[in-house]
Assembly symmetry: C2
Homo-oligomer: 206 residues x 2
């Protein structure tokens, strides 16, 4: 297909496509004349992945480049490639040097161990959860995370993992991971607040 | 207690306390001398609630004033007072006039009906979920929300509702609702991404 068709089908403006080509984020098309190149499904798929990372994952162009590097490094196993995209979605959390932080981080590590989860010791999610626990302690919110962990595991294993095409093209898997992570996260958050309203109504009006 | 002690115990600077007093967000202390007023536990509780709304809930001062109005309106049942704080925490979503939106919103209404949940027909969470469904459809993400709804209901009913002191002071209940809603939401999000990493590792390395 011509660049105009690629643009229309991907929903990405032509100047933006040209920018991605210049930056090496999108592979060149097949040159069929001096001013004409032919693009195919692999270009469309890459553009969809970039859009998902940019618009839904809200990643910076610098982070997207890192994800693309790992997609293109075929020596990297799929799990680690997906890990790169996944870690890029995590908010950056700076560990703090105080005891309160260390205690919370130790609690996170103990929880992961107890759950038997296979989470890298450097995963940013460990610090992210530690930070939330510090905040809960400071504010006197009771902490009972086991039911949340179990609910998360169940939803991920029974629903979300089924939506990721592990055996298909690598950028399609990244796209599905990012869209699923962010959009199911938003849906759950809205549903949880609906459940709060409903349960509150039930308790108060009975 | 004096304003300096109130400041230290609430973790709110004296000029900020004076601002809240001027704006009517905090009730006046008991004047014990021309330049001295005495504050008590009700002031401390109100400051804690304001901090929770501001720092954890990220509400604007204008929204906080609305919540305070409903806390002070004793004729408002507790459930409706909490609803005001709760709705203020929802991201503002503008319904769109097109068919895609109408269809998604109708699906949300059908889901709530099917679940038998007691959620107001004007609740902002309905539009929020509709917007997420529109996005999922546009991006080709499969939609199976029933397991998410059930998990949300269970966590809210079995864990979160127990943390809200429905029978205590009204501002303590609002504080607990806001802290619980936001912080448990963050904790769940981190746990869900950990579960994704773990399940992905299990599938790919087996």
């Amino acid at each position: 297909m011509r660049i105009s068709e690629l643009s229309a089908r991907a929903g990405v403006a032509i100047p933006t496509i040209k920018y991605y080509l210049r930056e090496g984020m999108l592979h060149q098309g097949e040159q069929t004349a001096a001013t004409r190149a032919e693009y195919d499904g692999t270009h469309l798929r890459r553009l969809r992945m970039i859009r998902a990372l940019l618009e839904v994952g809200r990643l910076s162009v610098a982070s997207i480049k890192k994800v693309i590097e790992s997609v293109e490094d075929e020596s990297l196993p799929t799990h680690e490639m997906l890990g790169t995209a996944h870690y890029a979605l995590s908010p950056a959390v700076e560990p703090e040097p105080d005891e309160e932080w260390q205690a919370a981080r130790a609690d996170v590590d103990a929880l992961v161990e107890e759950l038997g989860w296979d989470v890298h010791s450097d995963a940013p999610t460990r610090d992210e959860l530690a930070q939330t626990i510090v905040r809960m302690r400071q504010l006197g919110v009771s902490i009972d995370l086991a039911p949340y962990a179990e609910a998360a595991r169940k939803l991920v294993a029974e629903v979300e993992m089924g939506t990721i095409p592990f055996d298909g093209p690598r950028d399609a898997a990244v796209e599905a991971l990012v869209l699923g992570t962010v959009l199911y996260g938003r849906a759950f958050d809205a549903l949880r607040r609906m459940a709060q309203e409903s349960e509150s109504a039930r308790r108060m009006t009975r």
